[in-house]
Symmetry: C2
Subunit: 597 residues, 2 copies
């Protein structure tokens, strides 16, 4: 892959092409130009591309066509800028950056702003560098946001590595770092935590964009203080008033539609009903399952959804192109079909249904009619990125026993209440039965066990607690080494032996996700890279993940996006109740709490 | 003047203020927040300011008020971001940067993007540095664009200094350089001139904004090639289609209302009638007379005018605040009333008439009810910036004699035809009488003489030609060392002795502008700094300039902005016919032409 040259270095060729003195590499004729600068749709437009960049966009590029020019007849179809995902985590697809790109290119995504927060929690700065380097080799644009909060909740969890201001400063000098990844430690910012502010400062001083993450409904002083701290965007809003508040404070509202996030519909009303200036709204996915990527789409799905909410198509497309590019200081580099920009473009015959009929990136056709046509070689992850599941020993059923207070026949326990289609959990309290000194919720209670198994330093630690909402109604266990954000291992189950078996299977596989029932392995997704990512093709991972979800269903789980919900139960930055390697955490107060009330 | 600290360095104080842990320096209560991010006007807004930056903007800042906090009651007035002038030349006001700021602050301008192109033509890079340093000491924001075209028209003029890619690269490292000043050599860009492209590349590689200047009605291949060359904005458009073309190509349309430019009304229809996305439109002044500044206003005049053309007030204000800031990569630094930004704000009771009732910059009240209240010390220009009028000797009437071809009774001469209120001139041809071997247009012809007197290297050169449109109807001469862009001396007159006298007066004064009639000096504006700027107060300069214009009127000149038209007659980059130290220049073909046809 030849690296794309800068506009400055390409300008002589672009000028010559526009003047007809040099012939274009590719010309797309007779398209409807979706002009995200002017907000217009301009029929009868020709586009000439030279050296991977747009050289001429106007009514007639005949003068740029020579014998070697590849000419594509758009036949009146729309020319849409390649779509940008304003904030996302590649690891959520359980595939490598390369596989993620292979999966989303046919959907029209040509630019990603990826925060490798997950691998950072397992492998630290070297893990970030691996994904940074992998991203740079792609034929599409994948910029890396430097993870800001590793650990996400200092003192409340112990990930595999820690990052701080020194690492942020170092990373800001890397060629493909676009800014700071979501500043999740909003209580830290509000409290003036010098470490968090130093990371923000290092990013601002490098002239880069500080990503935000304010996961609280409180729009009072705390929110204002967070905005004053420097984060420039936020994708954690869920309500119309969240979007309005962010935009008013000079932040960009990132509206996400991920596999398990549905935050566009409510917030977009700030534009469609309240009439706010749409330039400060950006669409993103945040987290996408490989299954979503393979079966439903990526940013095309988000744009289509936004249009279905009443946005003008060109406005929705701006939110996934120019607006995003402007936010990251890249508006002269990508995000529109205009001279000098990277020649990233989609052809589609319908601006509402948005079928992605051709995808061009840096002037090369990469996909047609939903199929990847380009050959994109895999990235070789080193041994250091594998074998990351460090457990002291295999576990047994006893490791998951929860002793009741002496003499109790019943206990009142804190229970993590999963809410369908929402990231926050409820901090529930439930009366649970005791049998032989151990708490035994019983299948009929709707409450099952959850365990956090330490897997970074082989401490042998297992934290046990309770969770409700999954609906498991047979003996079973589900385990995963994807366990945001510190990515220990989460085991949820109704049977302690199955829980041990599930954990041990993942230990052996070097990470992944597994469903066990009655001593039988029902499904397994191997994730040998950092215990987070497969080295297989997205289609295969999607199929395995689908089998995993089916196995969860077979065990009684009816929850939408059940596996993602599972993997978020240790996310001790989103309220209300979570589990970590240090214990049960109330994320409203950021305090460890006891299991029994 | 204490330098403003960065947001990064101020963040701890801002956060503490927003939380109420630290009290604000200033709180403005109960305003109507003109929110340029959301496009809303939000009543009942309080603004807290700490260390020169906005710390809190919301419904109630009571918690930020302490005993030392200055509290200002906005009493329901509008809170408008300090206005930004997206492109301008300080020298056009014939005052120093400091004096310019003193003049425009009461009008609500708190940010200027100034291209010191004029002083660069006289003093070169040291001249740019002087204005750069002066600008940095101001209590408002004055960013400097590095002049790109010195000379403006290589080979067609010889200014006092030359700048090239090496100087551009050097200047990009200076702290207050925001980008490249208008790239006027559009034929060079289109032709792929390596020098012009190297200047653009140096700017792009520094991550800064390349200013454009495409002064041609041709929107065909040449325009597309110019856009492909890298300029990011253009303020030379005059027609609706000019603005549309620029925005479509991913450039920002800068619409100017200067003392002699009236380019907003036609172009703004692209927004008000064609419905183009307004975010890519920016208002600017380009050139303002000191008289305009003192008597009419500055950016407030432009915003008011834009509103009168049918723009929503908040949209017009965006074009003079957020849009401008975004264009220069400063949207997180200024251009809105939002946390972290420089606390630049206007209070006004009417968003249409836009009376500027209070001006706050960096958290200090600088002006009230049109009067500057802050003490802004003058900048001391060194001797090197003075005594820049280097003529070989005093001139005589004979230096202005234009000999006819031998034996001719009449000649057909090329005549520069001045057009009222427009920058372009007409290339006219006129039959002129001959007397005693010399061309003698005669007062009744409407044609008078123009001379370009070399003043940088004391070559003794005088180029004589003809001009029409001024209307002088008595014996007189008007001379000026402000003579865009190479700033030799332009003398226009009906009488050769008066022309010599005028030139000699300016030689003695070290530069300026003068009107002489029948051997009497009618008016003089001394401009001792580079022959371009006064060291007096704007009010005094305006009064002297007014007297100058009155003197021109007394000599029969009825032209609007007559002096500015005079000073543009050597501007060999704007069509059609101009004069320079090398001769008469046809700016349609960029060729020197003969005086007689």
């Amino acid at each position: 892959m030849t690296a794309l040259k800068s506009w400055a270095d390409t300008a002589p060729l672009l000028i010559d092409t526009a003047m007809g003195r040099r012939k274009a590499d590719m010309v797309v004729r007779n398209g409807r130009w979706v002009n995200v600068h002017s907000g217009e749709i301009i029929p009868g437009t020709d586009v000439a591309i030279t050296a991977g960049r747009f050289a001429y966009v106007g009514p007639d590029a005949a003068h740029t066509i020579g014998p070697a020019t590849r000419v594509i007849d758009a036949a009146g179809r729309y020319l849409v800028p390649g779509l940008c995902d304003g904030h996302m985590h590649v690891e959520s697809g359980m595939v490598t950056v390369t596989e993620f790109a292979r999966a989303v290119i046919p959907h029209g995504t040509t630019t990603m702003f990826a925060d490798p927060h997950e691998i950072a929690n397992v492998l630290g700065l070297p893990g970030v560098r691996l994904m940074h380097d992998e991203a740079m080799g792609l034929p599409v644009n994948a910029f890396i946001q430097m993870p800001s909060c590793v650990p996400s909740a200092p003192g409340l969890e112990n990930p595999g590595a820690e990052l701080g201001p020194a690492e942020v400063q170092e990373a800001m000098g890397w060629p493909n770092i676009i800014g700071l990844g979501e500043m999740m430690n909003f209580p830290g910012v509000i409290a003036g935590d010098p470490k968090m502010l130093a990371e923000i400062a290092a990013t601002q001083n490098a002239g880069k964009t500080v990503g935000g993450h304010y996961a609280s409904p409180d729009l009072g002083h705390a929110f204002h203080a967070y905005a004053a701290g420097g984060p420039a965007d936020d994708h954690e809003g869920t309500r119309r008033e969240d979007a309005i508040a962010r935009v008013r404070q000079g932040m960009r509202a990132m509206l996400r539609l991920g596999s398990a996030w549905y935050d566009v519909a409510a917030q977009i009303k700030a534009v469609t009903e309240d009439g706010l200036d749409s330039r400060n709204f950006i669409l993103c996915t945040d987290d996408s399952h490989s299954g979503t990527l393979v079966n439903e789409g990526h940013m095309n799905r988000v744009v289509r959804h936004a249009i279905a909410q009443g946005l003008k198509p060109v406005t929705a497309i701006q939110m996934a192109s120019l607006n995003t590019a402007q936010h990251f200081g890249l508006e002269r580099e990508l995000g529109s079909i205009a001279p000098g920009r990277r020649a990233d473009m989609i052809l589609t015959s319908n601006l509402v249904a948005l079928p992605i009929e051709m995808v061009i990136a840096r002037g090369k056709v990469l996909a047609e009619n939903g199929r990847l046509t380009a050959d994109i070689p895999a990235f070789a992850y080193p041994a250091s990125a594998r074998n990351s599941v460090n457990m002291k020993r295999d576990l047994t059923a006893d490791d998951f026993a929860i002793a009741a207070p002496k003499g109790a026949n019943e206990v009142t326990a804190r229970v993590i209440g999963v809410i369908e289609n929402q990231a926050p959990t409820k901090a529930l309290e439930k009366r649970l039965k005791v049998a032989s000194g151990l708490v035994d919720a019983g299948l009929e209670s709707g409450v099952c066990q959850i365990a956090l198994v330490e897997r970074h330093r082989a401490t042998g630690g297992v934290v046990n607690a309770f969770v409700s909402g999954f609906g498991y109604n047979v003996d079973c266990a589900v385990a995963s080494t994807v366990a945001h954000d510190s990515h220990h291992m989460i085991v949820v189950g109704t049977n302690r032996s199955d829980m041990a078996m599930a954990a041990n299977i993942l230990r052996k596989a070097g990470g992944g996700a597994v469903v066990v029932s009655g001593g039988r392995q029902l499904a397994l997704v191997e994730l040998p890279i950092a215990g987070l990512m497969s080295d297989e093709r997205a289609e295969i991972v999607a199929r395995k993940a689908e089998a995993l979800v089916q196995a969860m269903k077979d065990c009684g789980c009816t929850l939408n996006n059940a596996y993602m919900q599972h993997s978020l139960l240790a996310l001790v930055v989103i309220p209300e109740l979570r589990i970590s390697d240090v214990g049960l955490v109330d994320v409203r107060s950021f305090e460890k709490v006891e299991l029994f009330v």
